[in-house]
Symmetry: C2
Subunit: 103 residues, 2 copies
């Protein structure tokens, strides 16, 4: 039985391949595939983006090797970046909670 | 309701903090906390390591800023590295499957 953490890593991989195989190269995300992945799987984040061109900018940022596709490693940097932001919010929340406990 | 991918990112965060708060600084992993995390949450990977000193080496590799702790960003590079390895195995498996279909 996989642990929760192993299961979470499996989900990262499966979600990438669920969209990567839809068109073009089967092991990387085209711009359209990345857009669908973000709309369906990261709706909270995408809705928080005021800029309608957000997906294009994110795609450009992620496509480090400039091949017009986002490979699995580049996709992981999106997941990593979002996780870091969530962690900063979470730690800020913990600090506020601790300060309230001290009052 | 969070999506599977959002839930997976939440698990990455929660598993880190579950172990980071056990001793010392509450927002980073000591060597002992990292060892417990790997033993309990990444058993498959840890068992595949023949070297009994694997945890020490991994800890040293992860602790990029040399402060004797593994912070969340450094932890994410462990998750990223393991996910990349899993993805390489997965893509190799897909290629083998495709070749068998062509026979």
């Amino acid at each position: 039985m996989p642990t929760e953490l192993e299961r979470a890593m499996e989900i990262l991989l499966c979600q990438f391949h669920k969209y990567a195989c839809k068109e073009g190269k089967s092991n990387s995300l085209s711009r359209c595939e990345l857009k669908k992945l973000m709309e369906n799987e990261l709706p909270t984040f995408l809705k928080s983006q005021k800029d309608p061109g957000a997906v294009d900018k994110i795609f450009k940022d992620l496509d480090c090797d400039g091949d017009g596709e986002v490979n699995f490693q580049e996709y992981l940097s999106l997941i990593g970046g979002l996780s870091l932001s969530c962690n900063q919010l979470y730690e800020m929340h913990l600090r506020q909670q601790n300060q309230q406990c001290k009052k």
